[in-house]
C-alpha cells in the first residue's frame, strides 16, 4: 500500500487539529487546546484506483503577529521535511489568518516547488462572522484548490483530504513509502 505524508499548516486556532480529528476519528471538540509540536495520525483511504495510507502531520500554529521571516519556526521546518502535500488552513472568520496562510504559501512554494498545496477556509459553519470575501485568493498562484470546510459540521472535510490524496497518488513516478 502506498503512503503519503500530508502536513496541516496555518495560523494558530484555525482548526488544524480539529480537521484532523474530524477526518480521522469523526469527532469534534469545541474546546481549544493549542498544539505545541506535532501530532501525527494516519488514515487508510479508498481512492479511485487504489488504497492509500495518509500520514497526517498536524503542525503547531504560526503566530500572525510574527514578522514574515519568523513565521516558520525551525521546528516547523523539521516537521515539513519530506512532505508529499500541504493543507494550508485559515479561519474564514479571521482575515488575518488568510494573510498568514498567504505568507506561509509564499515561503512553501519557494522551499518545496513541486509539492501540491490546497487552501482550507475553515469554520464555514460560522456564516454570520464569515469574513473571507473577494480577493482572499490573491497571492495564492499555483494553488491546487481552495475549499471552505467545517470541522464542526464536517462539511467538505472528507472531500478535501481525498481530493489532495488523489492528486498525490495520480503521479505514478512517486516512490512508495512505508514498507
Amino acid at each position: 500500500m502506498i503512503s503519503r505524508k500530508l502536513c496541516l499548516l496555518g495560523a494558530f486556532a484555525v482548526g488544524k487539529t480539529s480537521l484532523m480529528r474530524r477526518f480521522v476519528k469523526g469527532v469534534f471538540d469545541e474546546r481549544y487546546i493549542t498544539t505545541l509540536g506535532v501530532k501525527i495520525d494516519t488514515k487508510t483511504v479508498e481512492l479511485e484506483n487504489q488504497t492509500a495510507k495518509l500520514v497526517i502531520w498536524d503542525i503547531e500554529g504560526a503566530d500572525p503577529a510574527d514578522r514574515e521571516n519568523q513565521l516558520i519556526s525551525s521546528r516547523m521546518k523539521a516537521y515539513l521535511a519530506g512532505t508529499d502535500g500541504l493543507l494550508l488552513v485559515a479561519d474564514g472568520t479571521r482575515p488575518v489568518t488568510i494573510d498568514t496562510a498567504r505568507a506561509i504559501y509564499r515561503w512553501f512554494t519557494a522551499e518545496f516547488p513541486s509539492v501540491p498545496a490546497a487552501l482550507l477556509l475553515n469554520k464555514s459553519d460560522l456564516v454570520d462572522e464569515w469574513a473571507a470575501g473577494e480577493g482572499c485568493l490573491d497571492g495564492f498562484d499555483g494553488l491546487l484548490q481552495c475549499f471552505t470546510t467545517s470541522a464542526l459540521s464536517g462539511e467538505n472535510v472528507e472531500r478535501t483530504f481525498l481530493y489532495l490524496a488523489e492528486a498525490l497518488t495520480k503521479d505514478e513516478n512517486r516512490a512508495d513509502g512505508d514498507s
Binding site: S3, K5, F12, A13, Y32, I33, T34, T35, L36, G37, V38, K39, I40, D41, T42, V55, W57, E60, G61, D63, P64, A65, R75, A78, Y79, A81, G82, R94, V96, G177, D178, S179
Partner: protein, 490 residues
C-alpha cells in the same frame, strides 16, 4: 561527595531516555533505558514502532546519519523529542520524555494565544464601531439637511401670514386677533429659525451676513413683539436705545434671533415685575442687556441652561429647548460673549456686547418714494400681495408680475426706478433678470430678495448683481429702509 552523588543520581534519573534498536524490517529488537526507569506501553520488543514514530522514521532518509524532531505527541499527555540515527542497515531511535517541560511551555503558549485571540476580537469590534460611527455621522448630516430644508419650507407661509396680519392690524386699529396671529407667527418663525440654526451648526458652520442694522426699528420690533405677551402676564416691558446716530454692523437676522430668544425667555419665566431690553454704548462697543425680575438662576444651573434641549424644570411652557444654546453660539459667532448675572429670587440679566461699525444713517425724506415706479417680480402670490401692499403704502407705483417672461416683456416697454425680484422663481433665477437690467445700462436700482435655499453667504456670492439684498420675511420697516437706501444712493 555525598552531595555530588545525589545530584548525579537526580540528573540521570530525570533524564528519561529510551534507546530503541530496530532491525531492517523496522521491528524493535532491543530496548534500553540507560538511566532510571522509564517505559512506553506502545513500544515493545518484537513489535513495530507506533504509527507516529514510524512516520518520523520514514521522514528520515537512510542516507542521513542523524535527525532530530522535537515535541512529537505520543498521545494526549506524553510528548517526546525524537533522535533518529542510522548505522549501516540498523537504525536507532532515541526518545527523551519531555512531557513535563512541554506541559509548562504549552500552558504559557495557550495563554498567549488566548490573549491574542481576544485582542484580535477587540480590534475587529473597534473596526465595526468605527464603521458605525461614520454611518451615524452621515445620518446626522442628512438630518441637518432635512431640518434645514424643512425650515426653509416653513418660512414662506409664515412670512405671508405675518405680513397679512400686519396689514390687518394697520387697517383695523386695536383689533386683538391680528395681533395675536402676528405674535404666534413670530413665535413660530423663531422656532423655525432656531431649528435652522441648529441644523447649520450641526454641519459645523455659522456663516454671518453683516450689514448695517437699524437699531431703532429693531428695538421697535421687539417692543411690538413682546408688549402684548408681557401685558397679558401683567408684566411691564421697557426698551432703551443708544443715541440715534449709532451704527451697528451685524447679521440682523441672527441678532434678532438672539434678542427674541432672550426676551421670550425673560417674559416666559418672569411672573411679576418687568422685563427690560437695554442697549447702550460701552467702551466703544454696543452692550445689549435683557433684564428680568424673574426667579433667577441657581449657580448650579448656570452652565446647564446653555446645553441643547435643556430647560429648567419649572413645570412651565414648552419650547424646543434650543434657545439659549443657539443664542450663545450666535453671539460667539458675532464676536461677542453671552454673560449671565443672576440672583436667585431677584432676577437675571443676560448681557453681551458687539463691536461697533462705521456711522451710516440714512434719514430719507418719505416723499423720495412718492410715485416712483417699481417692477415687483415674485412667484409666491401671498408674498407678492404683501410686498405690493407695503410698496403701495409707501406711495410707489407697483407693477407686479409672477414670472420672468412677463418681467422681460415689461422691461422692454418701460423703464423702472426700481426692480425688486425674488431670487428663486419657478420660471428661472432673479439673477438673470438683474443681469438683463444691468445690460440695459439704464439707471434702474435693484433689490434681490430671497426666502429659502440660499447659502448664508449669498450676498457675497451674488455681489454686484443687485444694489441691495433682503432675506425674507421682510418686515415693512426693513423693506422701506432698503428701498430708501437704494433710491437715495448717488
Amino acid at each position: 561527595m555525598e552531595t555530588a552523588e545525589f545530584l548525579n543520581k537526580e540528573v540521570l534519573n530525570n533524564a528519561r531516555c529510551l534507546v530503541i534498536s530496530l532491525n531492517t524490517s523496522g521491528v524493535v529488537y532491543e530496548l534500553l533505558c540507560p538511566w532510571g526507569e522509564w517505559s512506553v506501553d506502545s513500544i515493545r520488543i518484537g513489535n513495530p514502532l507506533p504509527e507516529a514514530l514510524r512516520a518520523v522514521l520514514n521522514t528520515t532518509p537512510q542516507s542521513r546519519q542523524t535527525r532530530f524532531f522535537p515535541y512529537i505527541y505520543l498521545d494526549e499527555t506524553q510528548v517526546v523529542d525524537v533522535h533518529v540515527s542510522t548505522h549501516g542497515l540498523s537504525r536507532k531511535v532515541i526518545l527523551r520524555d519531555v512531557s513535563e517541560v512541554h506541559r509548562a511551555e504549552l500552558k504559557y503558549q495557550q495563554k498567549a494565544h488566548e490573549v491574542s485571540l481576544l485582542l484580535e476580537k477587540q480590534s475587529e469590534l473597534n473596526r465595526q464601531l468605527e464603521i458605525q460611527r461614520t454611518e451615524l455621522e452621515r445620518a446626522g448630516k442628512a438630518k441637518s439637511r432635512f431640518i434645514a430644508s424643512m425650515s426653509h419650507e416653513f418660512r414662506s407661509p409664515i412670512a405671508a401670514i405675518m405680513g397679512h396680519a400686519g396689514l390687518l392690524m394697520q387697517h383695523q386699529q386695536g383689533a386683538e386677533a391680528p395681533a395675536a396671529i402676528q405674535r404666534a407667527s413670530w413665535h413660530l418663525l423663531t422656532l423655525v429659525e432656531n431649528l435652522l440654526e441648529q441644523a447649520r451648526q450641526g454641519e459645523g458652520v455659522t456663516r454671518l451676513n453683516p450689514a448695517p442694522v437699524h437699531l431703532d426699528s429693531l428695538l421697535e420690533d421687539m417692543r411690538n413683539l413682546f408688549t402684548v405677551q408681557a401685558k397679558a402676564k401683567g408684566l411691564e416691558l421697557f426698551t432703551a436705545g443708544p443715541p440715534a446716530e449709532i451704527a451697528l454692523e451685524a447679521d440682523e437676522l441672527r441678532l434678532r434671533q438672539v434678542l427674541i430668544n432672550l426676551l421670550s425667555n425673560a417674559v416666559r419665566y418672569t411672573r411679576e415685575g418687568r422685563v427690560d431690553l437695554d442697549v447702550q454704548t460701552k467702551d466703544g462697543a454696543l452692550q445689549f442687556r435683557v433684564i428680568d425680575t424673574g426667579p433667577g438662576i441657581e449657580e448650579s444651573d448656570r452652565e446647564r441652561i446653555f446645553q441643547p434641549f435643556m430647560r429648567l424644570d419649572t413645570g412651565q411652557q414648552a419650547g424646543a429647548g434650543l434657545g439659549l444654546h443657539i443664542t450663545r453660539q450666535l453671539i460667539d459667532a458675532m464676536g461677542g460673549k453671552l454673560e449671565l448675572d443672576s440672583e436667585p429670587g431677584r432676577g437675571s440679566t443676560f448681557r453681551f456686547t458687539l463691536p461697533l461699525g462705521a456711522v451710516d444713517a440714512p434719514g430719507a425724506p418719505p416723499d423720495l418714494l412718492k410715485g416712483r415706479s417699481v417692477l415687483l417680480v415674485e412667484d409666491d402670490p401671498d408674498v407678492l400681495a404683501i410686498h405690493q401692499l407695503y410698496m403701495q403704502d409707501l406711495g410707489m407705483q407697483v407693477h407686479s408680475v409672477t414670472s420672468l417672461p412677463e418681467a422681460f416683456a415689461l422691461l422692454e416697454q418701460q423703464r423702472f426706478d426700481l426692480v425688486f425680484t425674488d431670487l428663486h422663481l419657478e420660471t428661472g433665477s432673479g439673477k438673470e433678470l438683474l443681469q438683463y437690467v444691468q445690460g440695459q445700462g439704464g439707471d434702474s436700482r435693484t433689490i434681490l430678495c430671497s426666502g429659502s435655499g440660499v447659502a448664508a453667504n449669498w450676498r457675497e456670492k451674488l455681489g454686484g448683481i443687485a444694489d441691495e439684498f433682503l432675506l425674507k420675511p421682510v418686515p415693512p420697516e426693513r423693506l422701506k429702509a432698503a428701498i430708501i437706501r437704494v433710491l437715495s444712493a448717488p
